[in-house]
């Protein structure tokens, strides 16, 4: 699914990612844990193609294609989804209109016609119900005035709508209370189908107690310094990042 080889990335002339190697197979859930400033979010944004994140060397293959050579929108159309730590507000555009537009962008890339209004409403109702999202949220402007929980649920709704092959979750647990964390995690777990892969970036064990990873990697100073199974996350939670 995804293979990162010897990746070096700099942002504003400062090297953040140093010789990163990571391989994620179909259906696998990988978690990256690390302290503040270790470069975790830089991986997420580099994979999604954020401008100004300069890949100095190395390569990334996604579905056997050169990911780095593609524009950000092409990466999404190829099946990569980044759930933002801080979802962006888009005043003046209703959530329903936005969701329909992103869905149609993906349909267009598959050679399908734009979705019929009635069919879209049916899908939106069904998926919103699964996430306990009230329909009136979709008549509000995208993420504007949404609570932290609503924003994260809206990210999960987009994952569900776009049906990606690889989901990168950048500190999805930040800003969520216990109940919101639980319901968001349950929604994400419903998307685990044995084929779809996940890369979960987090500081804490608590998210990984709900979304159980197959592999855990500890990140420090731009590189993976240790890998293991879920027990590694528990050890980090007990001992902290300082003690290895």
């Amino acid at each position: 699914m995804l293979e990162i080889k010897n990746l070096n990335v700099s942002v504003e002339d400062k090297q953040i990612i140093k010789n990163l190697n990571l391989k994620i197979g179909p259906g696998e859930v990988h978690a990256i844990m690390g302290p503040n400033g270790s470069g975790k979010s830089t991986i997420a944004h580099t994979l999604a193609g954020k401008p100004n994140y300069l890949v100095e060397s190395g390569n990334v293959e996604f579905k056997n294609k050169d990911l780095i050579a593609k524009d950000p929108y092409e990466r999404s159309l190829l099946g990569l989804f980044l759930a933002f730590q801080y979802p962006i507000e888009l005043p003046g555009v209703t959530n329903a209109s936005y969701l329909k537009q992103i869905l149609n962008a993906h349909r267009k890339s598959r050679g399908e016609n734009p979705i019929d209004a009635g069919e879209f409403l049916k899908i939106l109702k069904e998926k919103s119900k699964n996430l306990n999202i009230p329909m009136d949220m979709h008549s509000r402007f995208v993420n504007a005035g949404f609570s932290g929980g609503e924003k994260k649920k809206n990210e999960v709704l987009q994952m569900d709508l776009l049906d990606p092959s690889l989901i990168i979750m950048d500190e999805t647990d930040s800003g969520l209370d216990v109940d919101a964390l639980k319901s968001t995690s349950e929604a994400v777990n419903k998307l685990r189908d044995g084929k779809r892969s996940f890369l979960i970036i987090t500081h804490y064990l608590r998210l990984l107690e709900y979304i159980e990873p197959d592999h855990v990697h500890v990140f420090s100073d731009g590189s993976i310094i240790e890998s293991g199974d879920k027990s590694l996350a528990s050890r980090i939670d007990n001992e902290g990042y300082e003690v290895k």
Binding site: F84, V93, I102
Partner: protein, 306 residues
């Protein structure tokens, strides 16, 4: 094509002026003076809204003075959806008697190589409401001047202007004079400037010294979409009374790259992401248009021209 119904009054300006569907409550006189045609409109109270559509021949230069008098308790909805292909020079003078309501909607596209001017002077007496919405793309030399005088208490002006410029120029001036107590003005201006456009907005709010209990809000925002385009927003407040609530704000800048990246990360191409961004930016104040049909037209105008 305009969206007038068979019941609406039509004023057609071409080589000559012609009027269709006047009623007991809409009286129109016009002088077909070649050099300066004058249209005098009088509006009386009606059980249903009086509606007038202005239809101008896009293949002619248009010069006209439109004088509107809206009598006590009368209402008027005035709509202009013309795509102007030639030079225009239109002056509108409106006098609103007590309790009158006036809605003016202009959804216009101009030829980028023409010179166009619109001047509106509007006087409001007590308890009048004037809702003024203008959507334009500018032209080679476009001037849009509105002067509002809130002459008596409890008069209210709600105005919103949208300019979607694409290598055009557009000079906008809005003067609001609070000349009596307890009057309200609420105006917003938004523009997107593309190509080699130059858009200016000068919004002045004047509050006279005996105008206590005044409420005034003015906000202007611009989105610069190219390196060669310019936006200049100038709010001016002249307040001569302490018992007022007046606010103003002006901001312009380029699109937020973070937002464009967010949209790209959802599969939206750059061109479409910018379009969506502009549509959202310009639609922020559409809820000020209470008339559902006109709000829909405004949304369509923005979506079609971004």
């Amino acid at each position: 094509m305009n969206s007038a119904s068979s019941l609406d009054c039509l004023i057609e300006i071409s080589e000559k002026i012609s009027i269709q569907n006047t009623s007991d409550t809409i009286k129109i006189d016009c002088s077909n003076d070649e050099n300066n045609p004058i249209i005098d409109i009088e509006i009386e109270k009606s059980k249903i809204n009086n509606r007038i559509y202005l239809v101008c021949n896009e293949n002619h230069d248009i010069k006209a003075t439109i004088n509107i008098q809206i009598h006590d308790n009368a209402t008027l909805v005035f709509v202009d959806e013309t795509n102007y292909g030639r030079t225009t020079d239109i002056t509108m003078n409106t006098a609103m008697r007590p309790n009158a309501e006036f809605e003016l909607y202009r959804f216009n596209k101009f030829n980028v190589s023409t010179k166009n001017s619109f001047v509106h002077n509007c006087d409001l007496q007590s308890n009048c409401i004037f809702r003024d919405f203008n959507f334009s793309n500018g032209s080679k030399e476009m001037s849009n001047i509105t002067k509002i005088s809130l002459n008596e208490k409890n008069s209210k002006y709600i105005g919103s202007g949208v300019v979607i410029a694409d290598s055009t120029n557009c000079k906008n001036q809005l003067d609001i004079s609070h000349m009596s107590q307890s009057a309200i003005s609420d105006c917003s201006f938004k523009t997107v400037s593309r190509g080699k456009s130059n858009v200016t907005f000068k919004g002045k709010v004047f509050v006279d010294n005996d105008c206590s209990d005044t409420v005034s809000s003015q906000i202007s925002k611009g989105l610069v979409m190219s390196d060669e385009s310019k936006i200049n927003l100038t709010p001016i407040l002249e307040i001569n009374n302490d018992d007022v609530v007046c606010s103003h704000g002006a901001a312009s800048g380029k699109p937020d790259d973070t937002v464009l990246f967010y949209l790209a990360s959802r599969g939206i191409e750059k061109r479409d992401a910018e379009k969506l961004y502009m549509q959202g930016f310009l639609s922020e104040f559409l809820n000020k248009i209470e008339n559902v049909q006109m709000q829909s037209k405004a949304r369509d105008y923005i979506n079609q021209n971004c």
